[in-house]
Symmetry: D2
Subunit: 339 residues, 4 copies
């Protein structure tokens, strides 16, 4: 199941060490302004080698649009975009061919599919997430037309046991990108950086959490029962490899649910922007937990090591949320309101 | 979107105060033993009025199978089962007709659909979950044949700020049902009961968490990328009204992710039975967070009040997990392994 | 796969001799006027025993709406409707239990599903089509609101080797129903009647064709490539048991395609209302071929015999076409046009 | 809707004059032998310029596999394959930019999508069918493993008013390819060729029919109700642009249905290999009607003209049938049989 969405559909393909990875986006309406440069910029936020605190691999991740766009606008036809794998040092991985990497899904995949693409983890590689960033960027291009006020911004809110303060509304992606940790809290982010470098040095790794906030949403986005926005977002975020938990609501929600209901329901922000499975017009808030990555140094000496994937996962989560929003926006159009 | 699943598909229908609610299960293989009594027993675990700590409504929730079963076995055709609404005291709700209930999704639903079924919340009512229990029970009947060792057991692990100890492996549903809280921890459950009764008296309510554990799983259940078992389970659980968070992993996972990776990955149970999006053969562990219910006493005087829905949500979560497992079991069959 | 449609979805259930058959329609917008009497009237056009030329079985086929409708309007929630089987003379069929009925799918179904519901053919029975009529009627109720000019009318155009003239535009269902053959051609229909009665007497049966015409369609209904209106209609009609062929276009299309292109394309009605997979604003025309039914008298003595099912299949084909149109109408809404 | 299939899914993309066309095949099991050369050979059967009787355009249609195949075997991951458009003489089409081509879907597409990709018809171009040939070839590679005896062979059975005799069972694709018309009847094919050349000269075009026969099928392929093999095949074939009719059954079926049932059902080949919506183990037979192409000479002088597309459509229909069979084969695996 490499397709996500009902009306705005993303299909992804590509192994981390095959010829190319790519995405097909089907269902994007015609006439949406879309430049290759926009997708490229989004991929550049995800790619490795952006700073000293991520992996040293520096894949250029050059995107090429193959279809669905003409003279800077979408045609309403499927948009295909690919990224060639240029940095296929599969020699690095050859030594791993025979052995399973601990913490990796290698053993379970081989049990299931009776083969293992030893070339860098195949589809289980985090590299697959670039396909989602392509899809999410196109989703955002479309959303801008239908709901111009919507903005989705994610940031790193926890690294190891260091926790960020909650930023004010109105935070921008540019502000998040100002620091390589993608944590907007000036108080803790320096220490986060330092810890990441220490972990890198030690062949260790760090988990934590990313917060996602969507401002400017209309009321009523979501579909009944199994199409509730929180169900779809949970699927979207749960499909990202290292994610181990999702909470729909403000950062202190897990403490708040220990409160009695009268206290809990006294504040409207308690719902994280979702009621009855639909958006309620307030900012939507999600907290997404990450386990520390499993690619540890002794095994990754040949392979390349990313001690803390969360800074690079920020655009991936934004992409997944935008894909859900675009899909629900089209469904919102589909069902005409009674009078 | 009132259908869940790809190959084992549940479609639910029915308003809480209309003539009936029901389910259609499409994709259940032929020849699976299935008695009405089994579904009835499952519904009895969910229905209100089971004990003093839940709502006083005592709906009999009598199930009738309309199709798909013949002489105690499934036919391979769609299984339809319905429950008539006999206790439609809609007069109770008439007084609510004009006003929105605070904390309820009434306002957002009316904004979206330009109408509101004032008769007890319509589809947003928790009563809808009985349809899921029907579906989940059939899913379990099928799973027993394909993976006889699989057992899914959920229990209440937190009420307000009271937290249960983690029970040993091998816990049964019968053991969970021994106490009205459905908490297996003899130390805290009496206090949980007491708190729930106090909340009921005060017109207040309590949230917390439910843990779900699946033992006896084979290796390799799950599909790549968007069909990862954790993505599908997140959608399944996120579709339940009061659920506000899902964590895939052991009860202390949110503390563990603050640990460095070398420490985190040292224990195999850290993965909660899921690696690379597939089951790894270990017990699967989920923690599901609930907010306190919004039906508060002053508004619910006419309507009826359930101060803590979690004891009754236990079979609903088990049902949702079983639906995912049955769907993935069929997909497991679909793709033949290479040799 | 007992569900049809992407956004306007029909799920059907029920064996011909089980407790009940029924339909769940998911995706019908809220606020559409819908009375039980309208569905009942549609079922009455399909039910057996309407005239001397069909089977003598006289099932009342009383429909009951279980959900999704309140005070005469749809709620936007799934609409479930059932028909109880009251005329279950399964004793009639008991004698057939051990033997396969020639021309019936019994053997292939048993080979596939390792069982056979001997009670009247189970789901392969033509009785299953009443579920489609329920769905199609709801589709039409919705279409009336979105495209008030659309009208779908089918009629019997061939019985054995007797062929009807093509009726003028504007033909109504009431006019079609004036004669038990549902053939609007006064010249041939008396002879058709006579032939059907002769076949009935002789334990023989007759095939032929039904024509379907949709007037009042907007331009542009249909989706690219695999969602072309002709692809979806072909699936819809091909799912009806006795249908053996579908031609999109006017009654003489199979002769016309022998003409050179310059001649063929000189007349706009040559396209049957479909170009590039989308409606072109002209009347849509379909010819649907039926094989003679396989339930022959010697075997059906106990079971009951319908020598020519086409008069009763007329509302079924109308229903299937309306389901496709409603689904495409919602998709038409979904994708906003560029400016 | 640019995706076809439930478990074996083809997604196609690409405009006829954009950078590339391509396909993503999701759901092909792992370990299936697949060489680029096999796909290339299939594309070469479809490409223009194969003989004097088709269009003079000679696109090389070089396929490149981007993912899903490693060391000559499928990985179980999505298989992406693309064909670059090298022969983009869009200047030819510039003169058509302002005017709609008669018989073309240009007007209806512009009405629907408010734009028209004047570069050769965009997605409505027959060039899109190369994506289906890619998908169908992979479907066949998989089918060979699961049902090694299955062979799907199509041929041109009618050109204008010239009708071919029905070839013996066991006909091969190589035999069909021996003549540029792809008609296996040595008596009529020379005259067919001659007529096509005359039409080409005159700026005229010819329609007719293609027959498809599948030998070696197992019993029981197909799913109940809306997944009947004839429903899915009808959708698959109805999605091909120039197809105007589909008949499931032997070449003389439309005459046979005028016969009384006792006569009709006396021969088992009357069912065309399908009973109750499932394969019955006999050869499956389909007749597919084509209208004459609309690209007429005066308009196509700049664009390039194919007077009779059927010889090139033969591999496209084979591909569509194979895609349905592969999808049903996986579904056949999914539902375990009862005992």
């Amino acid at each position: 199941m490499n397709t996500f969405g009902t009306l705005f559909r993303l299909t992804t393909f590509g192994e981390s060490h095959g010829p190319a990875l790519g995405s097909v986006i089907d269902g994007c309406p015609a006439g949406v302004p879309l430049e290759t440069a926009r997708i490229q910029a989004a991929l550049d936020r995800r790619r490795p080698g952006q700073s000293t605190i991520t992996t040293a691999r520096s894949e250029p991740d050059q995107v090429e649009i193959l279809s669905g766009v003409f003279e800077g606008k979408t045609l309403g036809t499927p948009i295909a975009a690919i990224v060639r794998n240029t940095n296929q040092r599969s020699g690095d991985y050859d030594k791993l061919k025979a052995e399973d990497r601990p913490g990796h899904a290698d053993a379970v995949w081989r049990e299931r599919f009776k083969h293992r693409d030893h070339r860098g983890g195949g589809r289980t590689s985090g590299r697959e997430t670039l396909c989602r960033v392509i899809g999410g960027t196109i989703a955002e291009a479309y959303l801008e037309r239908q709901f111009p006020k919507v903005s989705t911004v994610a940031w790193v809110s926890q690294v190891g046991d260091l926790v960020s303060a909650v930023p004010e509304l109105g935070l921008t992606r540019a502000q998040v990108d100002e620091h390589p940790t993608r944590c907007p809290d000036p108080v803790v982010r320096e220490e986060m950086s330092r810890r990441i470098l220490v972990a890198k040095e030690a062949g260790d790794s760090l988990g934590g959490s990313i917060d996602v906030r969507v401002e400017g949403l209309p009321v009523g986005l979501g579909e009944p029962i199994f199409g509730k926005i929180k169900a779809l977002i949970a699927q979207a975020l749960g499909s990202v490899g290292a994610v181990t938990g999702v909470v729909w609501g403000p950062p202190d929600l897990l403490e708040r649910i220990a409160q009695p209901g009268l206290q809990f329901h006294a504040r409207k922000d308690t719902y994280g922007g979702i009621q009855g499975g639909l958006t309620n017009g307030e900012p939507m808030f999600l907290r997404v937990y990450f386990k520390p990555p499993a690619t540890l140094a002794d095994h990754a000496k040949g392979g390349r090591h990313d001690p803390c994937i969360m800074p690079r996962a920020v655009p991936v989560l934004e992409a997944m949320v935008s894909l859900v929003l675009a899909d629900l926006a089209l469904q919102f159009n589909a069902w005409p309101h009674s009078t």
